[in-house]
């Protein structure tokens, strides 16, 4: 096969992938290891991504973004992970604004979207989960009570990632008590919370130390007063607004898992080719080859499902099943590739300087967040296969 018969990829994705790779090359493993050791947020990396306009890919051009499709955003995140960086530090800047874009009013969009696009304001925190309500979002207990031109918010969120490093939070709170609503999905509202104004007094953020450097927190609202103009869309419609953004989130995180899987598999093959034991490369042993090859095959299959889900999303069609399946399969594929990578490297897989143990811890998250694999299976069983609801 010579060069002339190769397809020429002039789609924006090829250029996007190239430039993201170049940017990520300036943030090698040593950068991430130092942050990991001291539990620090990757400020310089996030700034570089924001300055390059990468986090504004999905924001329309009229608000200062690039107005790209979801698959372009997926390509960006996949490349970040594939390069060994960690997009989890800022991926939410890409998609949380979706609720504002779809349901915010003209004034809110004009006020916030250009600043989010430029990176001047960070909207990376998504306040949904509470200690007493995990995936059962409708059971959340944080309340927002209307008082004149303001809302008064009381309650608590947990696993709110990046809250300390974000200016804004998309907050879901109950505005009508559960027993007073007509439909069980009514009564929740979404607010664009400007944390800068209330932090320290009415808003307290406490970091939670976790097994990887993910900057996650718990957040407390104590009679927090926010202007009524912070309400996004209609009062009581919040649950539907949140749901409408979840497919995008699933697909983007699936793309990150694909990137992780590719990073692990590249590491595995390089090492298996180079490491010589008993006079030959360890990769010559099928016992070493097969797990790597199997993980690779799983990744390619999951990659197809990510592409399929993104295509449906972009066509404006229902992609709930595909987005969930893509996220589950991609998270499993990245974990399988991670397993093969550690096993291939033996003891070196545990050594920090190989970056494998760090990525291993990071990629494990995606079988749990933003939704656990069990809940995806429950969704498929109930909504796709028509089996009885199990919970």
């Amino acid at each position: 096969m010579n060069d002339l018969v190769q397809p020429i990829d002039l789609s924006p994705h090829a250029a996007i992938r190239n430039e993201v790779r170049k940017l990520c090359a300036a943030f090698p493993g040593s950068y991430w290891r130092a942050l990991d050791r001291d539990n620090l947020y990757p400020e310089a990396f996030v700034r570089a991504l924001a300055e390059g306009g990468w986090l504004a890919a999905l924001i329309p051009e009229e608000y200062g973004g690039s107005g790209l499709t979801l698959s372009s955003a997926a390509a960006i995140l996949e490349e970040i992970q594939r390069a060994g960086c960690n997009g989890a530090a800022c991926h939410a800047q890409m998609y949380i604004m979706g609720a504002l874009l779809r349901h915010g009013n003209a004034a809110q969009k004009a006020e916030y979207l250009p600043k989010i696009a430029s990176g001047a304001l960070r909207l990376q925190a998504f306040g949904v989960t509470e200690p007493s309500s995990g995936t059962d979002t409708l059971a959340l207990q944080t309340t927002a009570r209307r008082d004149g031109d303001e809302y008064v918010v009381n309650g608590q969120k947990i696993w709110t990632s990046r809250a300390e490093h974000s200016d804004l939070m998309l907050l879901l709170a109950r505005t009508t008590p559960r027993e007073e609503v007509q439909k069980r999905t009514d009564g929740l509202s979404v607010f664009l919370l400007d944390m800068r104004a209330v932090r320290g007094s009415q808003l307290t953020i406490r970091p939670i130390r976790t097994m990887m450097n993910h900057a996650t927190t718990e957040v407390f609202f104590d009679h927090m007063r926010i202007p009524a103009t912070a309400l996004i869309g209609e009062e009581g419609e919040g649950f539907r607004y949140i749901l409408s953004g979840m497919n995008a989130e699933r697909i983007l995180i699936a793309a990150e898992c694909i990137g992780d899987a590719k990073w692990f598999t590249e590491k595995s093959t390089n090492y298996a080719n180079e490491r010589v034991v008993f006079g030959r490369p360890i990769g010559q042993n099928q016992g070493v080859q097969f797990p790597i090859a199997k993980a690779y095959a799983r990744m390619r299959a999951a990659e197809l499902m990510v592409e399929r889900a993104a295509a449906l999303f972009e066509a404006g069609q229902d992609c709930g099943a595909e987005a969930n399946i893509a996220k589950m399969l991609a998270a499993e594929a990245s974990w399988e590739a991670a397993e093969a990578c550690v096993q291939t490297h033996g003891g070196f897989g545990f050594a920090e300087e190989y970056d494998i143990e760090r990525k291993f811890r990071e990629t494990r998250l995606y079988q749990v967040a933003p939704i656990s694999t069990n809940l995806i299976l429950s969704y498929l069983a109930e909504h796709v296969l028509g089996l009885p609801r199990s919970y």
Partner: protein, 249 residues
């Protein structure tokens, strides 16, 4: 002042190149290709001159197969204004490239050509010099600093003995060395803008040049494998070996 910047599509510097099975070149099928890194530096310098108001327009030129458009798009995303692709399937050698560049210079009338000092694929380090000779222009090769004022380009050149400063009367050819600048990353908005910038495609015949190779490749081989070294116990043994075995001191 218009600037003309040639950009070459080469095997990416991260790729471990392999000799093709016919022994006549290196494998490029399925291999990641990128802009020659020295050409990236040339584009960056041109963009900086435009940002300073010294240059008015930057034309990125690439020659070769249709895929060279990707390389031109990269240049456009970095800040070049328009592109020209001289499309040909013929293997291009420095003299043919220099002749075609001369024809483009005659047509476009740039005030300066800035280009990489060499391409990392064949390391010829010849096209810039040949172009300057064909044009009868002064040349500042291996530039590590470039200043332009009053129709003169002052170039600091990296030479074996150190640094040499030359003053060139414009128009001139300048070739970029590694330390001239650090090229920028293209931002996402600029990648999207680059997709709307024009690329003109022409053929070598349109420039009146026959690009057929004048040099014949006889064979391409991998470098010999490095042999294992030996450990020496102390400085005295090292000196003895260098003197008696290697005979270098």
């Amino acid at each position: 002042m218009k600037l003309l910047v040639p950009v070459k599509r080469v095997v990416d510097y991260n790729v471990k190149v392999r000799v093709k099975s016919d022994g006549m070149g290196v494998e490029t099928a399925g291999v990641k290709m990128s802009m020659n890194p020295f050409d990236e530096i040339a584009i960056e310098e041109a963009v900086r001159l435009k940002e300073k108001g010294i240059a008015s327009e930057i034309i990125a030129v690439s020659m070769g197969i249709a895929a060279c458009q990707e390389t031109i798009r990269t240049a456009l995303a970095m800040g070049a204004d328009r592109g020209i692709l001289v499309e040909t399937d013929v293997e291009l050698q420095p003299l043919a490239v220099a002749k075609m560049l001369k024809a483009l210079v005659d047509k476009e009338q740039p005030g300066m050509v800035i280009m990489g000092k060499q391409a990392i694929d064949d390391d010829m380090n010849a096209t810039g010099q040949m172009l300057a000779a064909l044009l009868g222009w002064p040349q500042g090769t291996f530039a590590s600093k470039l200043d332009i004022a009053d129709g003169t380009a002052t170039v600091i050149r990296e030479i074996d003995g150190g640094l040499e400063t030359v003053a060139l009367t414009l128009p001139a050819v300048v070739t970029a060395d590694l330390r001239l600048n650090e090229p920028r990353y293209a931002s996402l908005p600029n990648i999207m803008k680059a997709r709307k910038k024009p690329i003109e495609t022409i053929k070598p015949a349109d420039l009146g040049v026959d690009p057929a190779p004048r040099l014949t490749t006889l064979k391409v081989v991998e470098p010999a494998k490095r042999k294992a070294g030996v450990k020496v116990a102390n400085v005295a043994e090292l000196v003895a070996k260098l003197r008696n075995e290697a005979k270098v001191i």
